[in-house]
């Protein structure tokens, strides 16, 4: 990378909302399905059909806006964006032009090392999705060179959230971190499935380059066709390098749309003829304006869950958990919520995190039962951590107990009590086990005395075994060492 230049990146996301029905009609909103089965006069743009907005979709957008701290204006409206395309039934898209449902706001995100960053949002608005075209005759399913296209309107009219960031990101890695945070937040809100592979999250990036430290913006290009977070990162880095190369050689960047070529790892120009789009936006006359009541907005605000970025900050700065583990904990909202309940009755957050992400997640993977839905209640896990911290049991016993708790054994303290599993911390009792083991293995003791210090592990293991695992390992270590050296 050339240090004389910095990249200026903005990201525009389209997110399909998780509603039962489409935006303006009662057709089911679901991924996939037999082509052209989820269609009605409205979403097929039949003559005479009229749209009626889905109240739930509007609430989801407002909730998303509130989660990012956006302003929810008292007045909002729908507009028509006019352009012809075969998979757009009415040949206009009902969208929002100058009065979106949410204005401003900030996405807090963090980099791999845990550094928190912020990226401001321009706006969030609500619109309808298009159908899907499959291009045939070109061999590779691409539009270029195809001889005809097949259209499926199942997706037409699905509610779509458009979320536009300010150009405040500086690298592909930052863009991905921003997208990860956006994705986690929308998932936590239940706004969307946010699956790039199913198209419920789609994003484009605007990239420009300027001399480092400059306040002016360079000419930007818009990158499309990025199908995964990894391709977002690669595409941005590739485009940044391309633009730096051009500028370094005294060239000029052309404002254009460029497509990401995953196979060759480059962006290529998507211009055919540069006919400027003239969308002829005007207020949608089939709909009346939206004026979200303040009471409704406050009700939605009060119902917001704890957001991933808030969780992450608390885990790292207050609970002292490392960035990697904290990220894993916020990744799955139910896991984070479970962890929060454990921490609420335990003061060893690190141990709680280790258990949740380690043994419990392993058990969850093996059994296919989510941690939060398992038989191990947060209170019992906290109890187990308490037993370890108080040295009542050692970690080996703790692991065994956890496996039994997963199978429904209940309170670990009760099991320890009932089965006498409490750790032996009495030096006298442990010394007796040490004595017993050393006298049973005179040859090993001799090896140690001859300088083979690595046999100590064997002896410690034998003492632990003799204690049926209950001896305090630290104390065993200490006593074995003392005895051998005496």
């Amino acid at each position: 990378m050339n240090a004389r230049y910095e990249a200026v990146i903005g990201v525009e996301c389209h997110v399909e909302l998780k509603t039962k029905t489409k935006m303006f009609c009662g057709c089911v909103n679901a991924f996939g399905g037999e082509p052209n089965t989820k269609i009605c006069p409205v979403c097929l743009g039949m003559p005479g059909a009229l749209p009626v907005p889905n109240a739930q979709a509007i609430e989801l957008i407002i909730a998303a806006g509130l989660a990012f701290g956006a302003e929810i204006p008292a007045f909002s409206k729908f507009d028509r964006k006019n352009y012809f395309y075969p998979d757009m039934p009415k040949d206009y898209q009902i969208s929002q032009y100058d009065m979106p449902l949410a204005i401003g706001g900030t996405v807090k995100y963090w980099l791999e090392d845990g550094t928190m960053r912020e990226c401001r949002l321009t706006r969030i608005h609500l619109e309808e999705d298009t159908g899907k075209s499959t291009h045939a005759g070109s061999g590779d399913g691409r539009i270029a060179g195809s001889s005809y296209s097949l259209v499926d309107f199942n997706r037409a009219g699905v509610p779509l959230m458009e979320c536009v960031s300010e150009p405040e990101l500086r690298s592909g890695a930052e863009a991905v971190a921003y997208l990860e945070s956006l994705r986690r937040t929308l998932l936590a809100l239940g706004v969307s499935d946010v699956k790039m592979e199913e198209g419920s999250l789609r994003c484009d990036a605007n990239v420009s380059i300027r001399p480092a430290g400059s306040a002016e913006l360079g000419t930007k290009t818009e990158i499309k066709n990025m199908n995964s977070f990894r391709s977002v990162e690669r595409a941005i880095e590739s485009e940044r390098a391309r633009q730096i190369e051009i500028l370094s050689n005294g060239g000029r960047i052309v404002q254009e749309t460029r497509g990401w070529d995953e196979v060759n790892g480059v962006t290529h120009s998507m211009r055919s003829k540069e006919e400027a789009h003239d969308y002829r936006y005007f207020p949608e006359p089939d709909l009346v304006p939206l004026e979200p009541s303040r009471a409704a907005v406050e009700r939605l605000r009060a119902a917001l869950p704890v957001l991933p970025a808030q969780r992450f900050e608390r885990y790292t700065s207050q609970l002292g958990i490392g960035s990697k583990q904290a990220t894993q904990l916020v990744e799955t909202p139910s896991l984070g919520a479970y962890f929060d309940r454990v921490v609420a009755c335990s003061n060893n957050a690190q141990q709680a995190s280790n258990f949740v992400l380690g043994d419990l997640s392993r058990l969850a993977n093996e059994t296919g039962v989510a941690v939060a839905e398992s038989a191990v209640s947060a209170e019992h896990l906290a109890e187990l951590i308490g037993l370890v911290d108080a040295k009542r049991i050692n970690s080996k016993i703790a692991k065994e107990l956890l496996a039994r708790m997963w199978d429904g054994a209940g309170s670990p303290a009760a099991i320890v009590e009932r089965e006498g599993l409490a750790q032996t911390t009495d030096p006298g009792a442990i010394a007796a086990f040490v004595e017993e083991v050393l006298s049973a293995h005179p040859s090993v003791v001799a090896e140690f005395k001859a300088g083979k210090s690595n046999v100590m592990g064997f002896l410690v293991g034998q003492v632990m075994k003799a204690s049926r695992g209950k001896a305090d390992p630290a104390l065993v270590n200490e006593l074995v060492r003392t005895k051998l050296s005496s």
Binding site: P35, N36, I39, P86, Y148, R280, P285
Partner: protein, 95 residues
């Protein structure tokens, strides 16, 4: 107010192929019409709000409840061209 109209450009946006005769006739007729509508410039609208809708309703919404869809065969039977369960269109040249 501007009173010329670029008929060819507008017809391109509207996706209507026009003959040269139509360009000439429509250009003249619509130029005349623009001459008439330019009378609106006489109105002082500086402090007037725009009316998109005369009714004052707000928030007319529907519940997120599924409703029956149309029968696919009934719909596809009227498609100008279909292929299996899809609507078929000529090749799309990316723009």
């Amino acid at each position: 107010m501007p009173d010329s109209i670029d008929i060819r450009y507008v017809a391109t946006l509207a996706r209507i192929a026009l003959t040269d005769d139509e360009v000439e006739v429509f250009g003249r007729q619509l130029g005349d019409l623009l001459g008439h509508v330019n009378a609106l410039a006489e109105l002082d609208t500086a402090s007037v709000s725009a009316t998109a809708q005369v009714i004052e309703s707000r928030n007319v919404l529907r519940e997120d409840r599924p409703a029956p869809c149309l029968d696919r065969e009934k719909v596809l039977a009227q498609a100008p061209q279909r292929q299996g369960a899809f609507f078929r269109v000529p090749r799309i040249i990316a723009e």
